[in-house]
C-alpha cells in the first residue's frame, strides 16, 4: 500500500490549532488544578463505572472485539512518590487507545510498565491471556519476551545501523529472504523505500519517526506502544504525521496504546481516550463521551477551556447568575433541593451581548484567535466565564454585557466546593 495523505485541510488545521491553544491555557490554569485534587475520589468512582460500562458512548471500536491487553490494579512507586496508582484498563483488539494527561501524570510510566522496562509494584498485566507481570506471585516477563513494539519519544534509532538494518533488527530469528521481504514491505508501508540505506543522522525528523514505527511493527507485535510520538517533531509536521501514523496503524490492524499530553492529538487519533492525572486513570471512553460528559472537573478543564457556573437547586430548576436553567438539562442531577452545584460551561455554550444596563458582567479580556474571539467575562458575583464569538462580533474590554446559555446539549455538573 502507498503512503496515506492527511485528510485535514490546512485551513481547518489552523483553526483547531488556535482553539487548542486556548484549551491548553485553561487546562494549565492553576486555579483549576486545585479543584481536581479534591475531586479525585469522586472521579475514580466515575472511572470504574465508565471502564466496565457500555454507557461509555458510541465507541469507534467493534464492541465484540476481544481484550488484548488487560491491566488490573497496577501501581508503581519511585522512592515514596507514587507514579501510578491502582490503574485498571483493558485494550481491545485493533483499537487505538490514547492515554492523555499532563506531564508527570504517570502515563509514560504506565507505558514502560506494559513494555516490561519497569516492574510493577502491584497488580497484574495480561497480554493475550498470558500474564506478563504479577508481583504477588513473582511473575515478571523480561521485555524481550513481551512481543510488544514501542515507538520512543526520541525514536531511539540505532545510529550505527541503516534504516533497513534498523527495521530488520527485530527480525533476526527469521530466514534471510523472509526478513528482506518484510523489511521491504514495511519500508513501503511508511513510504521510505528510497531511504533504506541511509543512516539515522541522514534522515529528517519525520523520516526517523516513520523508520521507528516500521521497526516496531516489523516483528508483528501484539500491541504497539507510542510514547509521545509527535513531541520531537516540528509543530507544522505534527498534524500530518499524526494522521499518517494513525492510517499506518489502522492499515496493519495492530492494537495500539498512544501516550500524549496533547488533547487534540488524543481526541483525533484515538478510538478511546483514557485521561490520567496524578498517577490515576480519571476517565476512559470514546473521545466524544469524555469531551461531552467529563467525569471530573479535571477532565473537563484538561480537555478544553472550561468555566463553572455556581447554581442552587430549586425544585425543577437551577438558579444561576445567568438566570434559571431547567434541572432536566443537567444529566443525572440528583443533588438535594437547596444545595449548590457547579455547572460546566464551555465558551461555545455561552453568548455575550452588549447592554446599556448593568448586565450580567463586564468583558475583562479579549482574546483574538483569527477566526474567532474568546471573551472573558467577569460576572457580578466575581466568577469568570468565557464566551466564543465569530471574529465579526467585536466588543470592547470593559463593556457591560449580558450572558445567555446557548448550549443545545445537556450540561455536566459537579458538586460544589
Amino acid at each position: 500500500m502507498s503512503r496515506m495523505t492527511p485528510t485535514h485541510t490546512d485551513e481547518s488545521d489552523a483553526e483547531t490549532d488556535a482553539a487548542m491553544d486556548a484549551t491548553t491555557d485553561a487546562a494549565m490554569d492553576a486555579e483549576t488544578d486545585t479543584a481536581m485534587d479534591a475531586e479525585t475520589d469522586t472521579a475514580m468512582d466515575a472511572t470504574t463505572d465508565a471502564a466496565v460500562d457500555a454507557e461509555t458512548g458510541p465507541a469507534r471500536t467493534d464492541p465484540a472485539a476481544e481484550t488484548v491487553l488487560d491491566l488490573d490494579g497496577i501501581a508503581k512507586t519511585y522512592s515514596a512518590e507514587s507514579a501510578v496508582q491502582d490503574l485498571s484498563m483493558s485494550v481491545v483488539d485493533g483499537e487505538i487507545l490514547a492515554l492523555l494527561g499532563p506531564s508527570g501524570c504517570g502515563k509514560t510510566t504506565t507505558l514502560r510498565l506494559i513494555a516490561g522496562l519497569e516492574r510493577t509494584d502491584a497488580g497484574t498485566i495480561d497480554l493475550d491471556g498470558r500474564t506478563l507481570a504479577d508481583p504477588a506471585s513473582g511473575v515478571f516477563v523480561p521485555p524481550e519476551e513481551h512481543n510488544i513494539g514501542l515507538v520512543f519519544q526520541d525514536f531511539a534509532l540505532f545510529p550505527h545501523l541503516t534504516a533497513a538494518e534498523n527495521v530488520a533488527f527485530g527480525l533476526s530469528d527469521r530466514p534471510e529472504s523472509e526478513r528482506d521481504e518484510r523489511v521491504a514491505e514495511l519500508l513501503d508501508l511508511v513510504g521510505l523505500t528510497d531511504h533504506a540505506d541511509h543512516y539515522p543522522e541522514e534522515l529528517s525528523g519525520g523520516q526517523k519517526q516513520r523508520i521507528a514505527l516500521a521497526r516496531s511493527l516489523a516483528p508483528e507485535p501484539d500491541v504497539l506502544l507510542l510514547d509521545e510520538p509527535l513531541s520531537n517533531l516540528d509543530i507544522r509536521l505534527r498534524v500530518s504525521m499524526r494522521e499518517e501514523i494513525r492510517d499506518i496503524i489502522k492499515a496493519t490492524g495492530v492494537t495500539a496504546v498512544w501516550v500524549t499530553h496533547d488533547q487534540e492529538e488524543a481526541l483525533s487519533v484515538a478510538d478511546r481516550v483514557g485521561v490520567m492525572n496524578d498517577g490515576r486513570l480519571q476517565q476512559i471512553g470514546s473521545p466524544e463521551s469524555i469531551f461531552e460528559r467529563p467525569a471530573s472537573r479535571f477532565v473537563a478543564t484538561f480537555l478544553g477551556q472550561a468555566s463553572f457556573l455556581s447554581a442552587r437547586v430549586a425544585g425543577d430548576s437551577l438558579v444561576t447568575d445567568l438566570g434559571r436553567i431547567d434541572a432536566d438539562r443537567c444529566a443525572g442531577l440528583d443533588a438535594p433541593d437547596g444545595s449548590t452545584v457547579d455547572v460546566l460551561v464551555r465558551p461555545d455554550d455561552l453568548r455575550a451581548a452588549p447592554t446599556d444596563g448593568a448586565g450580567d458582567g463586564r468583558i475583562v479580556r479579549r482574546q483574538y484567535q483569527g477566526p474567532a474571539f474568546v471573551y472573558r467575562v467577569e460576572l457580578s458575583d466575581g466568577n469568570t466565564v468565557h464566551c466564543l464569538h465569530n471574529h465579526t462580533e467585536n466588543f470592547e474590554v470593559g463593556e457591560p454585557v449580558t450572558v445567555e446559555i446557548a448550549a443545545d446539549h445537556s450540561l455536566s455538573w459537579y458538586p460544589s466546593e
Binding site: Y78, S79, E81, A83, S103, G104, C105, G106, K107, T108, T109, A115, G116, L117, E118, R119, F140, P142, P143, E144, E145, H146, I148, G149, L150, F152, Q153, D154, A156, F158, P159, H160, F169, G170, S172, D173, R215, S216, P219
Partner: protein, 549 residues
C-alpha cells in the same frame, strides 16, 4: 519523561527492578576499582608496620624543595602559557597557526629527554659551554639544581596551560564583551570583569596538570641533581631504606591531595563554564598588536627556540656522532628494546581497555553513589606519582614472595607458585593502575552517547541484556575504547619511574636503555631511542586531539 519520573528515575535505580544496577557489572567494576586502589593499601600497610624512627617522616628541606618547585613551575607556566594563548587566539600576531602548533609541540618531548639534552647543551663541557669558552666566557650559570630543574620542567609543561587557556578563549562568546561594552564598561574593565572570570577555570585546569607533573616527575630532578621527594624516595629505595621511602611516598601523596583540593575550589565553578553559542565567530574584537608585533614575535621565537630547537638540535648532533660513541660503550642499542617497549605497551593498552569497559559503561549508564565511587576510584592513578606506584608494587611483590616462601616451608608445593616481583604481569599491572583513567575517560565519554532508550529498544526487539550490549552498546562505544587504548599504549611507551622500579631483570625497553646511557655518558647512542619516543609522544597528541573534537 515527566518531571516526577525524571526525579524518581535515578533514585529508583538503586532499587531492585530490571532497569536498575546490574549486580554482576557492579561486582566486576568494584573488583577492578579495588585492584587499582590496592597499591595505596600496600603503602599504608608498609608504613604502619614500619620499625624505623618516625622522626624520619619530616625531611623539611626536601619537602620544601618539592613544594617550591611545584609553585615556581606552576607560576612560570601560567606566565608563559596565558600570554601565548592570548597572542595566538585574540591578536593579529603573524603566523598564528604556526605559533599555535610550535608552542604546543614541547608536550611531545618527555621532560627527562629535555633535561638530558639541556645537560648536554648547557652542562659543564656541554656544547654551549665549549662554544662560549672559545670566545673567552669561562662560566655560565649551572644547569644543575633548582633553577635548572624549574626551567626545564616549565619548558615542557607550560603547554598544558597554553592548551586549556586557548580552549577557554576559543569557546568564549565575544558577544559577552559586546554586551559588557553596551553597559558602559571600558575595554579593560570588560576584560577584568567578563573575560577573566571565564578564563580562570581553563587556566586552573592547565595549572593542575602542571603542578601534578612537577610534583611527581622523577627523571628531570634526578638528571639535574635536585633533591626533591621523588629523588629522595629513589635514593632511599636503592639504599634499602624502604620504610623511609614508603613514608616519603605518603608525604608526596598528601601534597597531591592538597593540590587536587585547591584546584577543585578554584577551577570547578559552574559559572565559569558558560560556553557561548557564537564562540569564536566574530573577528571584530581581535586585538591589533601594532608596535608590539615585533616584541611578541621575539617572545614566541624565544620560547620555541628553548623548547624545541635546543633539544632537537642536540639530538641531531648526537645522531650524527652516534657511530663514534657506540665504540666506547657496551651499551649497544638493540631493536629488541623497541619491541619490548611495544610488547608491554600493547599488553597495558589491552588490559586497560578491558578493565575500562565495565567501569565506564557502569558509570555512564547507571548514575548512583556506588557507581560514582567506583568511577572515581579508578582515577587514583592520575594522582599517583609513578615512583610511588612502583614502590608500592615492589612492596606488594616482595610481601607476596615472602608469604609464598612462608607457606612453602609448610606446604612444599607452594614453591611452584609463580613469583611476582620483577615480572612482566606486575609491571603491566602498574601501567594499568597508572593509565586506566585515560582509558576510562575516553570509553566513558562515548558510552555517555549511547542513549538508554537504544538498549531498551533492543530489548523490546527481542534481545537479552547481554545481546543488547553486544549488538548496540559495544559498536557504539568501540571508538572510545580504541582511542583510550591508543592513548595508554603511547603513554606506557615513555613511562619512566615505575618501569625502572619494576622492570624484570634483563628486560630492557627504550626508556630503561636511555636511562642506562645517562650513567655511561655516551649520549650519542640515545639519539635513536629518543627520537622514537618523541615520535610516539607526537602520535599520542594526535590521538588526544582527535578525541576532543
Amino acid at each position: 519523561m515527566s518531571a516526577l519520573e525524571r526525579l524518581g528515575g535515578p533514585l529508583a535505580r538503586l532499587g531492585s527492578s530490571d532497569s536498575e544496577l546490574p549486580t554482576g557489572l557492579v561486582l566486576l567494576s568494584g573488583a577492578i576499582a579495588a585492584a587499582v586502589l590496592s597499591p595505596i593499601a600496600w603503602l599504608l600497610f608498609r608504613v604502619v608496620n614500619a620499625e624505623t624512627d618516625v622522626s624520619l617522616l619530616t625531611q623539611p628541606t626536601t619537602l620544601l624543595t618539592s613544594i617550591g618547585l611545584v609553585a615556581v613551575v606552576t607560576g612560570a607556566s601560567v606566565l608563559l602559557g596565558v600570554p601565548l594563548a592570548f597572542l595566538t587566539v585574540r591578536t593579529d600576531l603573524p603566523f598564528r597557526r604556526f605559533w599555535t602548533i610550535a608552542v604546543a609541540l614541547p608536550l611531545v618531548i618527555p621532560s627527562y629527554l629535555g633535561a638530558f639534552t639541556y645537560i648536554s647543551a648547557f652542562g659543564p663541557s656541554g656544547y654551549v659551554a665549549d662554544a662560549l669558552a672559545a670566545v673567552g666566557v669561562e662560566s655560565i650559570p649551572s644547569i644543575y639544581g633548582f633553577s635548572g630543574t624549574a626551567l626545564v620542567l616549565t619548558l615542557y609543561t607550560f603547554p598544558y596551560v597554553f592548551i586549556t587557556t586557548r580552549a577557554s578563549l576559543l569557546s568564549f562568546d565575544e558577544s559577552l564583551i559586546e554586551a559588557a561594552r553596551t553597559l558602559q564598561v571600558s575595554r579593560l574593565e570588560a576584560f577584568r570583569r567578563v573575560t577573566l572570570p571565564q578564563l580562570v577555570p581553563g587556566i586552573a585546569s592547565g595549572a593542575l596538570l602542571v603542578a601534578l607533573y612537577a610534583l611527581s616527575d622523577f627523571g628531570t630532578p634526578n638528571l639535574l641533581r635536585l633533591e626533591v621527594l621523588t629523588q629522595a624516595i629513589w635514593v632511599e629505595f636503592n639504599g634499602f631504606g624502604r620504610e623511609t621511602a614508603a613514608m616519603l611516598s605518603l608525604q608526596l601523596l598528601t601534597i597531591t591531595a592538597v593540590i587536587l583540593a585547591v584546584q577543585s575550589r578554584v577551577g570547578d565553578t559552574t559559572q565559569g563554564a558558560y560556553v557561548g553559542t557564537r564562540a569564536g565567530t566574530s573577528g571584530d574584537t581581535t586585538v591589533s598588536l601594532g608596535a608590539w608585533t615585533a616584541p611578541a614575535l621575539a617572545f614566541c621565537s624565544a620560547v620555541v627556540t628553548m623548547c624545541l630547537a635546543v633539544p632537537l638540535g642536540v639530538l641531531f648532533v648526537w645522531f650524527r656522532r652516534g657511530g663514534s660513541s657506540i665504540g666506547r660503550t657496551r651499551l649497544v642499542f638493540e631493536w629488541s628494546y623497541a619491541t619490548n617497549s611495544v610488547l608491554v605497551s600493547v599488553a597495558a593498552a589491552v588490559a586497560c581497555a578491558l578493565a575500562a569497559i565495565p567501569v565506564a559503561y557502569l558509570a555512564a549508564r547507571h548514575r548512583s553513589t556506588v557507581t560514582e565511587i567506583i568511577d572515581r576510584a579508578t582515577y587514583v592513578g592520575y594522582a599517583m606519582p609513578g615512583i610511588v606506584l612502583g614502590l608500592a608494587l615492589v612492596f606488594f611483590g616482595v610481601a607476596y614472595g615472602s608469604t609464598v616462601s612462608d607457606i612453602a616451608s609448610v606446604v612444599p608445593a607452594a614453591n611452584y607458585l609463580p613469583t611476582l616481583y620483577q615480572t612482566l604481569p606486575l609491571l603491566i599491572f602498574a601501567y594499568v593502575v597508572r593509565f586506566l583513567p585515560q582509558s576510562v575517560g575516553a570509553t566513558r565519554s562515548s558510552a555517555m552517547r549511547v542513549d538508554r532508550n537504544l538498549t531498551e529498544a533492543a530489548r523490546l526487539l527481542g534481545r537479552s541484556p547481554l545481546a543488547a550490549f553486544r549488538e548496540v552498546s559495544l559498536p557504539l562505544i568501540a571508538p572510545g575504547v580504541f582511542a583510550g587504548a591508543a592513548l595508554v599504549f603511547l603513554t606506557t611507551m615513555k613511562e619512566l619511574p615505575a618501569t625502572l622500579l619494576l622492570q624484570p631483570t634483563g628486560f630492557d625497553t627504550l626508556v630503561t636503555y636511555i636511562w642506562a646511557i645517562r650513567e655511561s655518558g655516551s649520549y650519542g647512542a640515545a639519539a635513536i631511542p629518543a627520537l622514537v619516543l618523541i615520535v610516539v609522544s607526537g602520535l599520542s597528541m594526535v590521538v588526544i586531539l582527535s578525541q576532543e573534537k
